[in-house]
Chain length 378, copies 2
Amino acid sequence: MLAAEGELATVAIGDVHTEAGAVIEDAHIAYRRWGVPRGDLAGKNNILLIEHALTGDSDAADWWCEAIGPGKALDTDEWCVICTNALGSCYGSTGPASEHPDGGVWGSRFPAINMRDMVHAEHAFLEALGIGRVHAIIGGSMGGARTLEWTLLYPETVDYALVLAVSARASAWQIGIQTAQITSITQDPDWHGGDYHGTGSAPNAGLAAARRIAHLTYRGELEIDERFGTAAQSGENPLGQFRADGERFAVQSYLEHQGKKLTERFDAASYVTLTEALNRHDVGRDRGGLNKALASSTVPTMIVGVDTDILYPYHQQEHLSRNLGNLLAMAKLSSPVGHDAFLVEARQMDRILRNFISLTHETPSAREVAAERGAYDI
Amino acid sequence: MLAAEGELATVAIGDVHTEAGAVIEDAHIAYRRWGVPRGDLAGKNNILLIEHALTGDSDAADWWCEAIGPGKALDTDEWCVICTNALGSCYGSTGPASEHPDGGVWGSRFPAINMRDMVHAEHAFLEALGIGRVHAIIGGSMGGARTLEWTLLYPETVDYALVLAVSARASAWQIGIQTAQITSITQDPDWHGGDYHGTGSAPNAGLAAARRIAHLTYRGELEIDERFGTAAQSGENPLGQFRADGERFAVQSYLEHQGKKLTERFDAASYVTLTEALNRHDVGRDRGGLNKALASSTVPTMIVGVDTDILYPYHQQEHLSRNLGNLLAMAKLSSPVGHDAFLVEARQMDRILRNFISLTHETPSAREVAAERGAYDI
């Protein structure tokens, strides 16, 4: 019933009703799976659900290859690792570039979504697979935001959680820099109000510009400076008599390359949709505020931050740790790399993931604690 | 001979030959003056030269009103305060929007300049006024970069220097984020290759977008978050079923306001010129590298940084302090405001400026030290 190991598969989840009141009819969630599920799919089992970041996909064994696989920290000989593609993305799950049930592409008909909408879709996906509970959910950045929402929306489904490099809500600075990226795309003449699919062109100049800005928030300034400093791009002279687009500093060339690479693999409307979803990230909304929402969390949750993260500064993870109702542990990645350290610092992440897995064996889940109190069956 | 107190005046400085080999013919530098010059204009006197930041102007008694004036830290009853408008700017000094000697506006004919070119122009300006030496030069951000170059290009002209919130060279991160701003302007359809002056339109959408990004680097993320958090702009709903440009978070509205305000007072081509000049900031170029250049500095220089500065992180001022050949003192502004703290934290700046002035009275200048050694007359 599960997809073949490592193969992309898609599950129909019916209609998704967004928190804001829109409907995404006949939605699908794409996923991949590694390892064999063991135990009770509706109870105690060996399933780990991985949540990817903004432009990630379900191929976690690729983008997190040091973390996932036989003998790795998330050992696929022991664990069944499942990674979904987020609702709104463009790697198989329903998003603005997907076909609309009424014909054509969703385009501008695709509504704004938030982290909760994405988690509801993933919950429906697990239900469709007959999975009623998972051992742990693990995610960084946008994946961390979804993981946090999982622990608050469906605590009975999640035994443990690991939340990396994210905050309890979007900060005003994040909304500012993210909106700059959205505007860069929507002001591209090829945006066509979001209905450029099928026109033969796409707002790729805007998407590349957005990515260049974003990349500077994903990487620590120390790391970027160590790599490029004020060096000129090979064969170009950025110090000439007149400024010229083709005469660049090395860092410009690097950022342009990052931007171009993204346009070759990612849909601009999905980028807008997911970035807007990050703008709307706020675990406190309609839950009596941030700290009350966090305090109500019962799922044992480990929080990890990066000391040089510009986008989600470490104080935001300290805030999560101080306020979460059931803090499993806290760890800091020490790295010049910045936000992306959770993807890049393989050795440190290996220790953190192994520690997390071991803590989940040593610590009773919320459900086990409740069972001891006679509240419900385990 | 000097301009009337507080009045804008312009001084012809002849041709400026840029380091890259271009010529700006018949250049002018605009300035304002407060207080009466005393002492020997070619020697020991009471002149303080103020260097403004990127979009600043010569009206330092306005933008630094808490610092400059009778009884203030830079007491105009005691000191003669002079503030130039930078070469390339649009407040009276020659820049891309100025008239070209051959007719029309400079536009794309205005060459790329760097901090050294700007300082050479200011030196010619002082010479034109018959001023051979100043007691101190004081500047923050782009003004700090010019002040640093002053101490290396014309150490015999500067008795003391105060350098605020800047680095010894552009970092790769700064070049990246600054280039994003330049590109935002040059990709605006109204840019016309830099020759939009006189077309009746201007790349103001691009300029506003550049400013929105820049503003997020001028302000600390804590301060912006304290002010706006995830609040909606009054009367708008940023959480609706669909993303809409007119339904904004409060921080978006704030940033749009900042962007629009700049377009009403600043020329886009000047913004490109000065931002490019910041990209080219590197005191180490052609001086045997950064640390050798800093070590060669003889002018007693005080360095100030801001603990929450995203744009010029504090470690960059620590680097200056560690390497400068003649460090007068080091101070840190402690503020949630970020980079702009040197303009905003009036109380702390008052203490720093008073301390600086007093240190200049207590500490021999490089010229005085040399005179003691019999090297040249004082």
